[in-house]
């Protein structure tokens, strides 16, 4: 245990970014969600060691952070999120305009289930519960970009673009540790 507790998976710059937010909230606990976001952006997930490390930074019991983390399916603890996290909306407006079909198509095309990452670490597939883009149904969110009115052909093109090494976003993707 002592060995584990000395682990420092959160990089000093990330810790700095977390501490920079301290002044915004009257309690350390309120930092849990912002900190988890920062950690996941940089590590591609929040492994258990990072939870323990964060607990030391925020001076909170690690199980309390784990409790919060486990509530939000958004944070991943096993495995890394791929370079591109693809959220396919499956709520009503998108579903009746073809979103369900797109989600099924992607599971076949990528050979993974929602929640999983392709072996090359490029794509993580997720189903989204309403992206709030019903006017653009069916909508797909990839990292921080919304792709409106998608169909299979557009998805094919998008995936090919993202997978191409020359793609500008590939260099600056959010999850390069």
């Amino acid at each position: 245990m002592a060995e584990q507790d000395s682990e420092q998976p959160i990089a000093p710059e990330t810790e700095e970014a977390i501490r920079w937010l301290f002044g915004r909230y009257p309690t350390r606990r309120a930092l849990v969600l912002p900190a988890l976001h920062l950690i996941q952006e940089r590590l591609g997930g929040v492994p258990a060691a990072a939870v323990r490390h964060l607990a030391r930074i925020l001076e909170l019991p690690a199980p309390e952070i784990q409790d919060t983390l486990s509530f939000y399916g958004f944070f991943k603890q096993d495995g890394r999120i791929g370079r591109y996290r693809i959220w396919v909306c499956r709520s009503l407006s998108c579903a009746i305009c073809g979103g369900e079909d797109l989600l099924g198509y992607l599971t076949e095309k990528l050979g993974i289930q929602p929640g999983q990452t392709t072996p090359d670490g490029l794509f993580t597939l997720e189903h989204a519960e309403c992206l709030g883009a019903c006017d653009f149904a069916p909508a797909v969110l990839v990292n921080e970009e919304l792709y409106p009115k998608m169909d299979r052909e557009k998805l094919d093109r998008l995936l090919a673009e993202l997978a191409a090494p020359a793609h500008p976003a590939t260099a600056g993707a959010t999850n390069n540790a």
Partner: protein
């Protein structure tokens, strides 16, 4: 068109006035179009009490779904509290079919901020947190840029515009959980906990964020505050449905409202009009009518939670009372989702049940178990193992969960129950017909059956009862799959 029904295109938008203007998200354009003039005037001329009184007299009701009078909510703040007081901007817009807050935050973030600053002034809040859902990255960028611009201009920070009023605004990013839109769930989430709604009282105005007096208001509500102070009460009260004079309890449905139209329409989008536009006109005149020349079959009036209108019920006014008159939960967010005649109500109900089972926070048993079992029953019906008895079972579950029957802490369960109640009560024949056709051998059965259908979930080989039925034939789940990809999708 007669005099009572002016064309919707004649209405001059107020909330959406800047949307579509080049650079509408920047401070320069916002100010050039009159932005922050109201803030300057109010800080110069008004006391917080006067602003609060103006909002109360306007009759503004919250735009986030419940329609609680905003001024009344503010009036619950203790008058002599030493502070700090917090204002939370509820930007966790997650109700399926709703995207008007996104439009405001992406295209006119300064309008949202001006409303937030004015409301913070009125409620004496010194810190405002914008709880922004994760799924809105462009809103995040635009809002953050707008906040930075406000600090530069002296609209935020210490002694705003030379007054003794100080305010900081921070964006707090959510993590893809619907329940964070419930105001006390939002508060718990902001405090760094799982977003389990709190038992009320105490209400947030008395004991909210960090146990201090807190106001939680929706993005659109706050945007309305700016316009009430700018254009006056008379303007605001001239729009919408006035209170029923025979009913002193009725607060009316006043002011402008953003309507979202999506689904099977020609022109999905966000449109502005007075409250109380009939649903049919929203669909036909703004939405361009049903797509592909088809007919409307069912319409979600105000976000998935509110239930269903049938094609015969589309003349209800979209105000706080209208959809209730035909058995819907309420106006909700005015997020209209249109389903055409090809849409199966079984698929609708499955989609709805799946959403709420996924989003129930798990705190109250009736909701956690109710949403999850409802999904499993609908899953089984959809897979062709339904019995007529299941429909009454679903209704029994739906009638038993929520604030209205008094079994849960928050309204998520009411929102989960309404689509079930409306779908089955308004489209019962379709459900019965589907069950008879897909399960001709067993549709009348009433003995216990496994909730999960093997056909929908081929990974589970279900046999019930374990030793076979009374007639000796084991009821083993078939392994066919309704569509090629479903067999690989596990149930949540």
């Amino acid at each position: 068109m007669d005099r009572d029904q002016p064309s919707l295109t004649d209405y001059q938008p107020v909330l959406l006035a800047n949307v579509g203007v080049e650079g509408s998200h920047t401070r320069a354009v916002y100010e050039a179009r009159g932005g922050y003039a109201t803030l300057r005037r109010v800080l110069r001329e008004c006391s917080p009490k006067q602003v609060m009184e103006a909002v109360r007299s306007s009759g503004l009701r919250g735009r986030g779904g419940a329609g609680f009078p905003t001024g009344l909510k503010w009036s619950f703040l203790p008058a002599d509290h030493p502070g700090p007081v917090y204002l939370c901007v509820n930007a966790d817009e997650s109700e399926p079919g709703t995207f008007c807050n996104r439009v405001l935050m992406e295209h006119d973030p300064h309008q949202v901020l001006e409303g937030t600053i004015l409301s913070s002034f009125a409620t004496r809040a010194s810190t405002a947190y914008i709880y922004l859902r994760y799924e809105y990255p462009l809103s995040l960028r635009r809002l953050q840029q707008a906040i930075d611009e406000c600090y530069e201009a002296g609209y935020l920070g210490r002694n705003i515009l030379g007054s003794d009023f100080s305010l900081d605004i921070y964006i707090h990013r959510g993590a893809a959980a619907y329940i964070c839109g419930e105001e006390t769930g939002l508060i718990e989430s902001l405090e760094g906990r799982r977003a389990w709604p709190r038992i009320k009282p105490p209400f947030p105005a008395v004991e909210g964020l960090f146990r201090k007096p807190t106001v939680v208001n929706n993005v659109e509500t706050l945007a309305c505050v700016r316009h009430i102070l700018e254009r006056g009460l008379e303007w605001f009260r001239s729009l919408g449905t006035p209170p029923d004079p025979a009913n002193p309890q009725d607060a009316g449905s006043l002011g402008p409202k953003l309507y979202c139209v999506s689904g099977h329409v020609r022109r999905p989008g966000c449109y502005e009009g007075p409250l109380g536009i009939p649903c049919r006109r929203v669909i036909d005149e703004w939405g361009g009518g049903v797509w592909k020349g088809r007919k409307v079959k069912a319409v979600v009036p105000g976000g998935l939670s509110t239930g269903l209108l049938t094609a015969d019920e589309l003349d209800v006014p979209m105000d706080f009372k209208g959809p209730v008159q035909v058995g819907c939960l309420g106006l909700g967010t005015a997020g209209v989702i249109v389903m055409d005649e090809t849409c199966s109500m079984i698929d609708f109900l499955y989609n709805s049940c799946r959403f709420f089972a996924h989003e129930s926070c798990g705190q109250c048993t009736p909701c956690r178990e109710g949403t999850s079992w409802a999904l499993r029953i609908v899953e089984r019906i959809k897979a062709g193992d339904g019995r007529l008895r299941d429909l009454d079972l679903l209704l029994e579950i739906a009638d038993g969960m929520g604030i209205i029957p008094g079994t849960t802490i928050c309204g998520l369960a009411d929102g989960a129950a309404w689509p079930i109640k409306n779908a089955i009560r308004k489209f019962r024949l379709e459900f019965e017909d589907f069950i008879r056709r897909t399960n001709p051998q067993g549709y009348l059965a009433t003995h216990p059956v496994p909730a999960l259908s093997g056909r929908a979930m081929p990974r589970l080989e279900i046999t019930w009862p374990p030793s076979g039925t009374s007639d000796g034939n084991p009821v083993t789940a078939a392994t066919g799959s309704p569509s090629p990809w479903r067999k690989t999708i596990p149930l949540e």
